[in-house]
């Protein structure tokens, strides 16, 4: 186990205990007549038990190699890019039914092509427009997927 495993181990332990507590309140029933809480209760306990070896393992590693840095799983990761994608997707979900498929998708694609894909403005605008048109024809017209039409009743 490595240093990076410490925090997840705590999360698993907490999650396991939480699941066990909630399941206990759901009624465990008896072996003769098992209730809805029995299975998740056992699983919750199992989950917190499983976190123990990881916890010990990563604590040992940290103690032994205290001077060494982290394994560097996050080194070079550009969090801004990841956050921007997640933010755009959540915003897309929020506005989709209000402004409609065509408009929401067009703006999402521009952000993805331009900012994340580092494409030129003209290229991003053109490609986004083409992709929106084609996907509209393929999914909404041809496959009859009912994407929200939103404003102006297009898409």
């Amino acid at each position: 186990m490595k240093k990076k495993d410490l925090i997840p181990a705590f999360i698993w332990m907490g999650l396991g205990i939480a699941v066990a507590v909630i399941s206990y309140e759901l009624q465990l029933g008896t072996l003769r007549n098992p209730g809805p809480g029995l299975m998740p209760f056992l699983l919750g306990i199992l989950l917190s038990l499983c976190s123990v070896p990881i916890l010990i393992g990563s604590l040992l590693t940290i103690r032994n190699k205290a001077k060494q840095g982290d394994e560097g799983i996050w080194s070079g990761v550009e969090f801004k890019r990841l956050l921007l994608v997640v933010f755009s997707l959540v915003s897309y979900a929020m506005i989709l039914e209000k402004v409609g498929f065509v408009i929401a998708t067009f703006f999402l694609l521009i952000i993805l092509f331009k900012v994340i894909g580092s494409r030129k403005w003209l290229f991003a605008l053109m490609t986004s427009a083409i992709v929106v048109l084609l996907s509209y024809l393929l999914f909404v017209v041809f496959l009859k997927v009912e994407m929200p039409s939103g404003l102006w009743r297009i898409g």
Binding site: P36, L82, L96, L108, L109, S135
Partner: protein
């Protein structure tokens, strides 16, 4: 119905124009996403699952199955020409396939992988028919304790064979089982873990989960750094696809061995196409008279693994069709597709839905034939596809995920779930947790729990029912033995470590 007449009826189903078209679409999309790195068959099947709602179950299943085995064909193309695996099961093909391309032998490398894939693919379907037929007959006598035992054993081998840390795989499986508990309890009707969110009453939906873990996660992992431009394709004009006599002589034995290795590893839960390709490669290297050539462009290193990963797709259908047990996350999605279309795979499938059963099997023969054509004469098309840069590809992947997930139920909630699981999956990748045990446990969870509780009701609360019935007892005994060997192994490793530290 005996196998022969069953197969004939299956071919009649596939040759129906609509089904034929869906089979073609499946293998075409399969090859496409196989060629393209950054999206695999599991995510694609989840994306396209909602688009099969409008057609008959058999057409939908035929198409989704086609995506799976089609991806195995496409994956090798990218491995050979770009040295990047187009699909996880083609990782090992990079070693010798790319070296062959560098020596100007890309043609024969592509040729032998298509031919090997075809042989492995079709032979494994024959094995699949006979195995499903016999296994389903046995499984007809299974009661809840037997199902519980077999599912436990299956989950155990999945955990046992998962790569990386074993305890992490166990955690993933437990988390999957817990997630499977969310929603309305099937026996008492009580709500569990819904936290007042009505969208969770039916439980966590499989499709947003899979699209998040396999679609969005993949995109996030690929864009965490600024994208580099164009990938280098080694040879844009592929010539001499047909291997020469010498190539044939060297490849025929690896192809036959690869078929067997692939088929049987495909059956084992957690084995699957990736493991099969690795095992085949190491076997070929061991039995070879000139192992020093491996890694420098030995055609055996392409022929064996590429055959094995296709044969594994045939094997993977055995537990799914005979027992309703998915041996891998891809098959878990396919199981989801069966259930959504109102069909329960398992021993009753042959009797209740013979058209689906035989249609799917027959479609695999036809599909493999189509794939041979797509991947030999039309290989140039896929080389062009490889030129599409990732900066254009990933917005499309995201868009398909969004449309796919929204079209299940027209709920914004599903989009948010998908994004959430995408982030979770990204963290899993970073922290080295494998998503496969989670997905399989998630889909098996409700079945596992139902059989567990039904068994206890049957036995009046005595746990001995899981040990006294022979099949259930044998399965659970084997599972316990596997766990014991894991624990023993861990202790031994820990002891070695402790002594190392003390010294």
């Amino acid at each position: 119905m005996d196998i022969f007449s069953g197969l004939i009826s299956g071919f009649q189903v596939v040759l129906h124009p609509i089904n034929f078209l869906y089979c073609f679409m499946g293998v075409f999309v399969g090859t496409l996403i196989g060629v393209l790195p950054g999206i695999g068959p599991t995510g694609t099947m989840a994306i396209l699952l909602p688009s099969t709602f409008g057609v008959s179950p058999v057409a939908g299943i035929i198409m989704l199955a086609g995506i799976y085995y089609g991806a195995m064909y496409g994956g090798s193309t990218t491995s050979i020409l770009v040295n990047i695996p187009g699909e996880a099961a083609s990782v090992i093909t990079c070693l010798d396939g790319y070296q062959m391309a560098r020596k100007g032998r890309a043609g024969p490398a592509l040729g032998i992988s298509a031919i090997g894939s075809f042989i492995g693919g079709t032979l494994s379907i024959i094995g699949l028919m006979f195995f499903v037929y016999t296994l389903a007959e046995v499984a007809l006598k299974f009661g809840p304790p037997e199902y519980f035992g077999v599912m436990c054993l299956g989950m155990t081998t999945v955990i046992y064979l998962a790569k990386g840390s074993l305890i992490k795989s166990v955690i993933m499986a437990v988390v999957g089982l817990i997630m499977g508990c969310v929603g309305t309890d099937t026996i008492t009707g009580k709500l569990r873990f819904t936290f007042g969110i009505s969208d969770l009453w039916d439980g966590v939906d499989l499709i947003p989960l899979v699209m998040g873990l396999f679609g969005i996660t993949e995109v996030l992992t690929n864009i965490e750094h600024t994208l580099t431009t164009q990938r280098v394709i080694f040879e844009t004009r592929v010539k001499n696809l047909l291997p020469n006599l010498e190539d044939w002589k060297r490849s025929i034995a690896p192809i036959i061995r690869g078929t067997f290795i692939g088929f049987f590893l495909g059956i084992i839960p957690g084995g699957g196409a990736i493991t099969a390709s690795f095992v085949s490669y190491s076997v070929e290297k061991k039995v070879s008279k000139h192992p020093e050539e491996f890694g420098k462009g030995a055609i055996e290193g392409v022929a064996g693994p590429e055959t094995a990963n296709n044969a594994a797709t045939g094997g993977a259908f055995v537990p799914l069709l005979a027992l309703g047990f998915p041996p891998s996350s891809v098959m878990a999605v396919l199981l989801g597709a069966f259930i959504i279309h109102g069909i329960t795979p398992g021993p009753m499938l042959i009797l209740k839905n013979p058209d689906v059963f035989w249609g799917t099997i027959a479609s695999m023969y036809i599909g493999n034939g189509m794939l041979l054509i797509l991947n030999l004469p039309l290989i140039g098309l896929w080389v062009q596809v490889l030129k599409v840069p990732y900066s254009i590809l990933f917005p499309l992947i995201i868009l398909f995920c969004l449309i796919g997930v929204y079209s299940i139920d027209y709920k914004v909630f599903d989009i948010l779930m998908m994004v959430f699981f995408g982030i979770v999956g990204y963290l899993f990748t970073k922290l080295e947790y494998e998503p496969a045990p989670l997905i399989m446990a998630f889909i098996l969870g409700p079945m596992l729990e139902r059989s567990f509780r039904q068994s206890l009701i049957m036995s009046n609360g005595s746990l001995s029912i899981f040990f006294t019935r022979p099949i259930a007892g044998a399965a659970i005994g084997l599972a316990i033995a596997l766990y014991a060997s894991i624990v023993f192994g861990v202790f031994r490793k820990a002891r070695v470590k402790v002594t190392e530290i003390q010294e």
